[in-house]
Amino acid sequence: MKTHNKLVKRLLLASVLMFAFAFALVPLYDVFCEVTGLNGKPSLQPAEVSAEVVSERLIDVSFLTHIQGEAPFTVEAEPTVITVKPGEMNHVTFTAKNVSGQNRAMQAVPSVSPGLAAQHLHKVECFCFNQQAILAGEQAELTLLFYLDNELPAEIEELTLSYAVFDISGS
């Protein structure tokens, strides 16, 4: 009986740990994504300003915004495509408008395609780091400050940075 109890306790502990592991998978997944570029999830932490040498490679970066469902916003980058050199800092302005009659908060969720490029795109400043509150009918200029690092795989010549824009006023 004693031997049973010891073993049972260990096995129960193992299953409790595995239950906890399921939840630990959530942060692990983010790390995993960052390392492998899975799902094109770029980091949501501000990066340091580029200290890298500006290389001569030319990369086309397109900006895409997707208003999720019925979110009452319009968000547009101007221009929608820029050509950048890895290592150099780039500044892009997005114009966001709240087209509803109420004050609203939006959250932009970035996604990079091809996913492998995500870990090489460093955002020094991004409106996606925080929620953006926009008053009824107002428009706001949103800033994106980023650079690509020199480790960007050679086969990547163009990439898309997409923002899914959610209305999170309720929550």
């Binding site: 049972v8 096995l11 299953s15 595995m18 998978l25 997944y29 492998t36 949501l44």
Partner: protein
């Protein structure tokens, strides 16, 4: 031959003189006897097989012809979802647990399972889980309709309000499985008869031992996943909601981290059963026992690093796709070893074809077909074409129906005479086998064709080019469904009576379970046997 232990006890239905258990319903409610609980599990899984099977009949009836005839799409989705859940968690898994309960103590010379009370609980919470799941079908809003894989956000933001019932029933199923697994592990580690060393353990015990560890490793992960679904849906968390920083694809990673080992949970005990039956009717020892054990263990280990092959189309980076393709292909090596060993066991044996052997041979051929389509599915570029089509449906039904289910039936026919003391009606059982064999292939083989031709899975209606094959598939389905009634009949008939059998029912069978009387007495191996 018959140095049976405790075989002075009366076989069959217990006599009223035996005071070791209560009479009537109480016997079953309070029982802590591994044989009673094994019977309960097996009876329950048979009931679930019939319920899940009738849902499959509804699905096939709707798909018999193009157009919507019988049910509307939402109900169709509930049918596919609940069919999957019932078959996986209600039919296949409890059947294996039932066989484990019945046979593991007999095979290792233990008097009972190590934790008999927990054994009772782990069974009796199951009916509640499935009542809860099935009752949601009749509630306003309906049952779960997001597929047994319950991908978020279809199962969170976009599901009906009965999702909580689904979540709790999965929780209970998980708790039941974990308790069952703990019981199996403790029994095997602590209660083996003297002399029963690890490498003398029967293959069925080995495969269950490894399966039990898989269960403890992944069922809690499933519980965690459904808990996240629950909190996402009802408590405003956003594990799987991009707006709140979550990620719907993460759901699939966590789910399949459970889901792929789960697939092996449903097939490893089957390997054990087949490895028991093939030598018995080839009258030759299992070829490569050691490599069989290692192969089983390596399949179990590999099953933890292949999960993302279920989600190649979610858009992974190339490196990840390559990794999961290679690791998945690798699984076919130990699986191949198993098949080769079975064939080598039969080679130059003295083979006879009793019903369990018929099912076992059918298992080898048809499971291998399922294995081949599995290998094809592992090839990422080709998987883009196969994924979420009927090709996948064909694949997993070959491994789960002609694999897991056939092995369970082989096992039941193999041990049924030991349980009841009577030989089953052989003609009836053979009819059941041949009808099942033919109809199951009519049912599932054309699914490969419609899948390759482009028919997605989980659709209630389809384009006209798939019509002919779907009609054939449905006819095969009805035939297969009806054939299983013969199985029910054969089993019931065998409990009622028949030719009495000797202790060693099959002349080529080996193992401690054949040393006890037929039918197996209520208490066996009260004094442990000596294993040489």
């Amino acid at each position: 031959m018959t140095d049976s232990v405790d075989n002075n006890q009366e076989p069959g239905e217990p006599k009223s003189a035996d005071k070791s258990y209560a009479a009537g319903v109480k016997r079953w409610l309070y029982t802590t006897n591994h044989k009673d609980i094994g019977t309960l599990y097996l009876g329950f899984s048979l009931l679930m097989l019939l319920i899940g099977g009738s849902m499959a009949m509804v699905i096939r009836a709707e798909l018999f012809q193009p157009g919507l005839q019988l049910i509307e799409p939402n109900f169709f989705n509930q049918m596919t979802t609940v069919h999957g859940l019932i078959m996986v968690f209600g039919a296949v898994m409890p059947a294996f647990v039932g066989l484990a309960n019945w046979m593991i103590p007999l095979m290792i010379g233990a008097p009972d399972m190590a934790l008999p009370r927990m054994n009772n609980w782990s069974f009796w919470i199951l009916p509640f889980a499935f009542t809860m799941l099935l009752s949601s079908l009749f509630m306003p809003g309906g049952g779960p309709n997001f597929g047994w894989t319950f991908y978020a956000p279809l199962s969170t933001t976009y599901s009906n309000n009965n999702t909580a019932l689904f979540v709790f029933s999965v929780h209970i199923m998980g708790i039941s499985s974990i308790m069952g697994a703990i019981n199996v592990i403790v029994t095997i580690i602590n209660l083996r008869a003297p002399g029963m060393t690890w490498m003398k353990m029967p293959m069925f015990v080995w495969t269950w031992f490894i399966t039990a560890f898989l269960l403890i490793a992944v069922m809690p992960v499933l519980a965690g996943t459904v808990t996240m679904v629950l909190t996402d849906k009802y408590f405003g968390t956003s594990f799987f909601n991009a707006a709140g920083g979550g990620d719907p694809v993460m759901f699939q990673h966590i789910f399949w981290f459970f889901g792929h080992p789960e697939v092996y949970i449903m097939i490893l005990p089957a390997f054990g059963i087949i490895s028991t039956i093939i030598p018995a009717f080839s009258r030759k020892k299992l070829f490569g026992y050691h490599s069989m054990v290692y192969a089983t263990a390596s399949i179990a280990l590999l099953s933890f690093i292949v999960w993302a092959h279920h989600m190649f189309t979610t858009g992974m980076p190339l490196a990840a796709e390559l990794f999961f393709m290679y690791s998945t292909m690798l699984i076919s090596v130990p699986t191949g070893v198993k098949v080769f060993n079975w064939v080598a066991t039969m080679w130059r044996g003295s083979i006879s074809f009793e019903v369990p052997m018929l099912f076992a041979v059918a298992f080898i051929v048809l499971f291998t077909i399922g294995g081949f389509s599995g290998l094809m599915l592992a090839i990422t570029p080709a998987d883009f074409q196969y994924h979420d089509t009927y090709f996948v449906v064909a694949h997993f039904h070959y491994v789960l129906v002609t694999g897991a289910l056939f092995s369970i039936m082989a096992g039941v026919y193999f041990w049924l005479p030991k349980w009841t003391g009577f030989m089953f009606d052989i003609r009836l059982a053979k009819t059941h086998f041949w009808l099942s064999l033919v109809s199951v292939n009519v049912l599932f083989f054309p699914m490969h064709f419609v899948g390759l031709a482009g028919m997605p899975r989980r659709i209630p209606d389809y384009a006209l080019q798939f019509a002919d094959f779907n009609a054939i598939i449905s006819l095969g389905g009805f035939a297969f469904g009806l054939s299983q009634l013969l199985f029910v009949w054969a089993v019931i008939k065998c409990f009622k009576g028949g030719d009495t059998v000797p202790d060693k029912v099959w002349d080529g069978a080996e193992g401690l379970e054949w040393q006890v009387a037929s039918p197996a007495p209520y208490h066996t191996f009260s004094t442990p046997p000596e294993v040489k």
